[in-house]
Amino acid sequence: MVVIEPDRESFAIVVLGDFNPSIFQPLWFSLNGLVPDEEAKTADISVIHKQFASFSIGKILVQVDDSRLGLTTIESSQGPILRDLAIGTLSILEHTPLKAIGLNRDMVIALDTEEAWHAVGDRLVPKSDWMQIFDRPGMRHVVVEGKRPNCSADQLHIRIQPSANREVLIAVNQHYQLETDQRKEVRDRHKEAIRVLQSDWTSFVAYSRDAAYKLLHLAPSNECSEQET
C-alpha cells in the first residue's frame, strides 16, 4: 500500500470574483443539494454578515467576503468532496463574475533530525550573504513562483515555511487567471473555472505532493503495510 499523505495536510480552493457573502449560509448549500441537511443543521457558524461569512459544514470550512470565496478542508480524505462542493457552488453561481481561481495543497512534513530541518533552510536560502549582515540568519519563509509544464495554470507558487517540532510547511498554489482578453464573458470564465476543477484537480494533487518531496529531498514512502482494508 502506498502512503499518500504527509504528516498533516489541507486542501483549499480559492475563487476571486464578486460575491455576496450574505447568501452563503449552510442552509443555502443544503437547499441546493450540495451538502446533507443533517450537516447543514449542525454547521459550526462563526459569522454570517453582509461583508463576510465563515462557517464549517461537515469537515469543510467556507470563508467568503465580497471578493473572495475560500473552501478549505484540513482532512486529507475530504479533497474530492471539497472539489465537488466547489464545482456545485460555482455551477449554481453561474452569473457571478469570476476573476481567478487557485488550487491549494498545504502539507506539513516532519523531518527526522534537527540537522535535516536546518539543511532545508540552508539549501533554499544560502546563508553566506546574510552572514555579512547579521548573526545566525534563518529562513522564515520562501515563496517561489513558476510555470508548471503541460499545465494551463498561469502561475504556480510554492511557499516553504519552517514550523515547530522539526516540521516544514509546504504550500502549493496553482493559480489560473479567469478574467482575460479571451474570456470577457462571465459564462466563459465559469466554464473555465469548472474545467479547471474537473480536469486539473487530480493531477494537481499528485504534482503538489511530488513537488514537496522533491524540495525536501525525500523519497515518497512506498512501504508496505500489513493493514487489511
Binding site: 500500500m1 502506498v2 499518500i4 499523505e5 504528516d7 489541507s10 483549499a12 480559492v14 476571486l16 441546493n32 443539494g33 450540495l34 446533507p36 441537511d37 457558524i45 462563526s46 459569522v47 454570517i48 454578515h49 453582509k50 461583508q51 463576510f52 465563515s54 462557517f55 470550512l61 470563508q63 475560500g70 478549505t72 484540513i74 486529507s76 480524505s77 479533497g79 474530492p80 468532496i81 465537488d84 462542493l85 464545482i87 456545485g88 449554481i92 481567478a100 481561481i101 487557485g102 491549494n104 498545504d106 506539513v108 522564515r140 498561469d154 507558487h157 511557499r159 515555511q161 514550523s163 515547530a164 516540521e167 510547511l169 504550500a171 498554489n173 487567471q177 487530480t202 493493514q227 482494508t229
Partner: protein
C-alpha cells in the same frame, strides 16, 4: 500583479509565535455591525465568534438595545492545523453498478495511484451514512477513504469513511440547453444509426 495572484493562496498557516508582534494592515479587520433586518439571523452567530475570539468580552450594547460586536481581526480567522488528524492511506472513487439486497456493487478507481487497475467490490449498505443511502443508485459516485486517525495523545485508530458525491440539480434552463444541444447533435448523425 504578484499581489493579485497570491490572493488565491489558502489561509492555512502554521503557528509562529515569534511573528505575532508584526504590524497589522488597516484592512485586516472585519466590522460586524449588525443591520436591523439581519439581526435575527446573525445575532447569536456573531456573539459566538466574538466570544470565542476574545474570551467573551467583546460584545457591546448600544443605546437602542441592539447587540453590536467589536471588529474582528482577520488574522484570527487564519486556519490552523488540528492536533488530532487523519493520515490517509488509500482512497478510491467508486461508481455504483447496482444496489441489491443489502449490498452496493461498485467499480473502484484508485485515486492514490491511477496506474492501478479498476477493481470491483461489494459493500454493505449499512456502512453508508443514513443521509447518503437515498442517493445510492446505479451511476452514483462515492469516495472510500481508509487511513489512521491519530490523536494528540498518540492513540491510533483505524479510519474508514464512505461519502456519496453531491451535485446540484440541473435548473430547467440548463436542462433545456442540454436537450437542445443533444437534439442538434442527433441531427448531425445519419438517421439509420
Amino acid at each position: 500583479m504578484i499581489t493579485a495572484i497570491l490572493e488565491t493562496f489558502s489561509r492555512v498557516d502554521v503557528y509562529d509565535a515569534n511573528l505575532q508582534t508584526r504590524g497589522v494592515r488597516s484592512d485586516a479587520w472585519v466590522s460586524p455591525e449588525i443591520e436591523p433586518e439581519q439581526r435575527i439571523s446573525s445575532e447569536t452567530t456573531t456573539d459566538r465568534l466574538v466570544s470565542r475570539l476574545s474570551n467573551g468580552s467583546a460584545t457591546t450594547m448600544p443605546g437602542d438595545g441592539r447587540k453590536v460586536s467589536e471588529p474582528i481581526r482577520k488574522d484570527n480567522l487564519v486556519i490552523r492545523f488540528p492536533t488530532d488528524h487523519v493520515k490517509l492511506l488509500q482512497q478510491w472513487e467508486c461508481v455504483v453498478l447496482r444496489v441489491h439486497d443489502d449490498c452496493v456493487e461498485c467499480e473502484m478507481h484508485d485515486l492514490t495511484d491511477d496506474s492501478q487497475p479498476v477493481e470491483c467490490a461489494e459493500l454493505y449498505l449499512e456502512e453508508f451514512n443514513s443521509f447518503d443511502k437515498p442517493l445510492l443508485c446505479e451511476g452514483a459516485v462515492f469516495y472510500w477513504s481508509i487511513g489512521h486517525e491519530i490523536k494528540r495523545t498518540g492513540q491510533v485508530r483505524r479510519y474508514s469513511e464512505l461519502r456519496v458525491r453531491r451535485m446540484p440539480q440541473l435548473s430547467s434552463l440548463k436542462k433545456r440547453e442540454i436537450s437542445e444541444r443533444a437534439k442538434q447533435l442527433s441531427e448531425l448523425l445519419p438517421s439509420n444509426l
